[in-house]
């Protein structure tokens, strides 16, 4: 199979329409960490899952983007969710199922999914 540049253009346009990457605007910013560690642990499928979930619901005000290693390689794949005027939340050990919950509960509902958020509840009170 030989994929022509025109084919890639068409696919890219379609994907772009789904992701609506708008710099500096939006209510929520989702960053999927795509360092070597992230990619090796499945970040590509996590990114795909976010794109799919985002395309299902009306999420024009959600910016989906990628970045490098978040510094916690053993907990990849990871993503950072940042709601406007709120502190960013890092989610760890992601799967496409977890992505679905994060989108529904945190991105849409505004409630942090504590089950797979980094550090929340990890402090022990003795």
């Amino acid at each position: 199979m030989k994929l022509k540049p025109e084919d890639l253009d068409k696919i890219s346009e379609r994907m772009r329409a789904q992701t609506v990457l708008r710099e500096g605007a939006g209510r929520v910013k989702i960053t999927v960490h795509m360092g070597t560690c992230g990619i090796a642990s499945g970040a590509r499928d996590i990114l795909k899952a976010f794109v799919e979930q985002k395309s299902k619901a009306d999420m024009q005000d959600v910016i989906l983007t990628t970045s490098g290693c978040a510094g916690l390689c053993s907990h990849e794949p990871m993503a950072t969710i940042e709601l406007k005027d709120e502190a960013p939340v890092k989610y760890i050990d992601l799967t496409p199922e977890k992505v679905k919950r994060i989108i529904e509960e945190h991105v849409m509902g505004g409630k942090i999914v504590a089950d797979f958020a980094l550090a929340i509840g990890s402090e022990r009170v003795s």
Partner: protein, 145 residues
């Protein structure tokens, strides 16, 4: 990495970090020569001789605050495990050319994976960058796919 497509994605991320505006991917599956060739070329800032010599060293990285850079070493390992080789050529200011070969029939060769879908994702998230992919299967030329 489970697939060669993921190594390709990882090397592409390096190319993006290097400020490339054009990244080309070439995948050749040559059954006649029992060879899989994966080549990634970019027009990023490139590396000088000294940096290039260290590029395959897992304990070398150009990223500030990091101690490891595993992308190229892992790709090299994947090639070596499948009876292949890796070459990295680079000219400062011009770009970098990474070429890995694999023995196509080697039992330890990782599956190629979905390269077009991987490049789709890259294009979606980096609309200003020109990505091209050429997938060659010489044994199929003139025949059916």
């Amino acid at each position: 990495m489970k697939e060669i497509a993921l190594h390709i994605l990882d090397i592409a991320e390096n190319a993006l970090d290097a400020g490339s505006t054009r990244i080309s991917f070439e995948v050749t599956e040559d059954i006649g020569r029992d060879l899989l060739i994966v080549q990634i070329q970019d027009n990023g800032r490139g590396m000088d001789r000294e940096t290039l010599d260290k590029a395959l060293d897992p304990f070398y990285t150009e990223k500030p605050g990091r101690r490891f850079g595993l992308g190229l070493p892992l790709f090299a390992q994947a090639a070596r495990e499948a009876g292949g080789t890796i070459t990295v050529e680079s000219i400062p200011g011009k770009g970098t050319d990474v070429k890995a070969t694999f023995k196509l029939s080697h039992p330890d060769r990782k599956p190629l994976g979905d390269v077009p879908a991987t490049i789709e994702l890259l294009r979606a998230f980096h609309p200003a960058i020109e990505f091209t992919l050429e997938h060659r299967r010489p044994h199929l030329q003139g025949g059916k796919e």
